[in-house]
């Protein structure tokens, strides 16, 4: 079977508008989270990573003159994907797929004061907007599978390429910091009033962030980006346990990682680094520690990037994969920002300072509502 690769990529976030700039901020332990006091979003102040509106409009002006036609999320997504299309020097043909990964899309158009039609809340309409902007020839595919969407989208792209439907797939992912999301997570008492502290003893919940992230998935070995990786193995397994709480035994995550490792042809101990989910809720982080112990992976260096970006929902898995690709390329493990003292019953090897070391393989994991879990093994591409 042909190999497939994740290649050219982009991140639009409060830490910068391209992947290299964002990763530089991560490497300097800079967080994009800040205290936001906006009563139109939530009655009380909250920590979030939010993209500056005028910076976004200024950057968007470089690719379109039509500022009023597009929503905030559409601008983020179009800007992100435009960078990847440009880098890849790819001609979009009838063999090119488009995957949109999002949980809520333009959900803010449901607000009473939105100037956009409510029809924009349909995810297929968001997909059509993106497809038309770049002149995609094939029907776009929207993946909306809770918090695993971003990394699941990579597995889905690989599967469609293996099935011969596409030669390459562009993925664009994104979600917003909205009243809808903040009020919902707050009703769950899952929001932290502080900066999030994944895996820590004193963790008190999540922060929400907004990001658009894009990537090219291709079977073509030529013209790959420097940080390109092979998608070596992937799997997505359900907990079959509870719709809003993770399995106490980490069953779905355990099974996902098992299958992904097997397909990649590597042992658990061959993984150099784990880019985990780490939302900083009590149950999620605890569940992950149990799953990784069952996998025999407790000793492998691990981080959560939520301390830099917050939880970026449908974009998080793709965003964190891109940072992981840079980690491998730079042979550098990035600090799990916000970690204080061990706070899970099973051991984890949390990365507490930036470390230079030889890296070849990493495991990306994510878990979400609906009991979903996804694990993907990535191998560094060395022009071998």
């Amino acid at each position: 079977m042909n190999k497939t690769y994740v290649s050219h990529n982009n991140i639009i976030s409060s830490l910068g508008f391209n992947s290299a700039a964002v990763v530089e901020k991560v490497a300097s332990e800079t967080t994009g989270l800040e205290l936001v006091d906006d009563k139109t979003i939530l009655p009380q102040p909250f920590y979030a990573s939010v993209i500056n509106k005028s910076k976004l409009n200024l950057a968007f002006a470089e690719i379109s003159e039509d500022q009023n036609r597009y929503t905030r999320l559409e601008k983020m997504m179009l800007l992100s994907l435009a960078d990847v299309v440009k880098q890849s020097k790819n001609t979009i043909s009838d063999r090119t797929g488009l995957i949109i990964s999002t949980t809520k899309g333009n959900i803010d158009v449901l607000e009473n004061n939105s100037k956009f039609p409510k029809s924009k809340s349909y995810l297929s309409e968001l997909a059509t907007t993106v497809a038309n902007f770049f002149n995609f020839k094939t029907q776009p595919i929207v993946v909306s599978n809770a918090c695993v969407s971003g990394v699941l989208a990579i597995a889905i792209a690989k599967r469609y390429i293996n099935e011969g439907v596409f030669d390459e797939v562009f993925i664009v992912s994104g979600d917003l910091v909205t009243q809808f999301i903040l009020s919902g997570f707050n009703s769950f008492q899952a929001l932290s009033t502080e900066m999030c502290k994944p895996y820590s003893d004193d963790r008190t919940g999540i922060n929400i962030g907004e990001v658009a992230a894009s990537i090219l998935v291709t079977k073509d070995k030529n013209n790959l980006s420097n940080e390109a990786c092979e998608i070596a193995g992937d799997s997505s397994c359900n907990d079959a346990n509870h719709i809003s709480g993770p399995s106490r035994t980490g069953e779905g995550l355990f099974r996902s990682a098992k299958v992904a490792l097997k397909e990649a042809g590597v042992k658990a101990s061959d993984i150099d680094y784990i880019s985990a989910h780490g939302t900083a809720t009590s149950f999620n982080d605890e569940m992950e520690s149990i799953a990784f112990e069952r996998l025999g992976m407790s000793h492998i260096p691990l981080n959560s990037l939520k301390g830099y970006f917050g939880h970026t929902l449908g974009a998080s898995g793709l965003l964190e994969t891109i940072v992981g690709m840079y980690s491998l390329n730079q042979n550098k493990l990035f600090t799990s920002l916000g970690f204080s003292v061990k706070g899970t019953s099973a051991p984890l090897n949390i990365i507490t300072k930036n470390t230079s070391t030889s890296l070849n393989t990493f495991l990306k994991t994510a878990s979400g509502f609906g009991g979903c879990n996804t694990a993907v093994v990535f191998k560094k591409f060395n022009n071998q």
Binding site: V143, N145, A240, E263, G370
Partner: protein
């Protein structure tokens, strides 16, 4: 890559107050309002499952259709390697609008976790997975309209790569008063070889 086509083992519909399996209507409801239709069909299916009453409309429609189809399959009581790949047009918008109504007015602000958790389309897959102990592959896709080609290719790839032995596929859409479910079960066997795009479209349009 040339593969013999896989088998569609069973298919099911739920629309216009009728729920049918492999082309035969099993139960119909004379109720006119959707919540009443759902309750009625639930009773007729004799699925004693209290969690049903907490579900949102999308999950109820998906759950009842899947329950009828999977019940007919003599499944193992322990666990079953059946992937669940669903799709629709309106995502979870029906429940999204309900959640938005709870937060639109600052003087009448009452967001609830019981509603919010259903503002994700894939929750209905979680509900089916819990009932039938499916620790398997799952994904929820949004398409403009029913897309047999994408569902067909994805199910094929899951079976070929041995990530599932069967795949429960389909379309489950709820949007205001409109609702519709069409599910079909694809098996890794190659006896009938009727898992083709043409056949999926034929079944959907019937």
């Amino acid at each position: 890559m040339v593969n013999k086509d896989f088998d569609i083992k069973a298919f099911a519909y739920f629309k216009d107050g009728k729920i049918s399996l492999n082309g035969s209507v099993l139960y119909s409801s004379s109720e006119t309002e959707l919540p009443e239709i759902l309750k009625d069909i639930y009773k007729k299916l004799e699925t004693d499952y209290r969690k049903f009453f907490k579900m949102d409309v999308l999950s109820k429609v998906a759950f009842l259709t899947a329950d009828m189809l999977l019940k007919s399959q003599n499944l193992a009581s322990e666990e079953n390697d059946i992937a669940v790949i669903l799709s629709n047009n309106a995502s979870s918008l029906d429940t999204d609008r309900n959640h938005q109504n709870t937060i639109a007015d600052k003087d009448n602000y009452y967001p609830s976790p019981a509603v919010f958790v259903y503002t994700l389309a894939n929750i209905c897959i979680g509900e089916i997975s819990i009932k039938y102990k499916l620790f398997s592959e799952n994904s929820f896709f949004i398409f403009e309209a029913f897309n047999a080609q994408y569902l067909h290719a994805y199910a094929n790839q899951l079976l070929i790569s041995k990530k599932a032995k069967s795949v429960l596929c389909g379309w489950v859409n709820v949007d205001e008063e409109k609702y519709e479910a069409f599910l079909y079960l694809v098996n890794e066997t190659n006896e009938k070889g009727n898992h083709t795009i043409a056949e999926i479209n034929r079944l959907y349009n019937n």
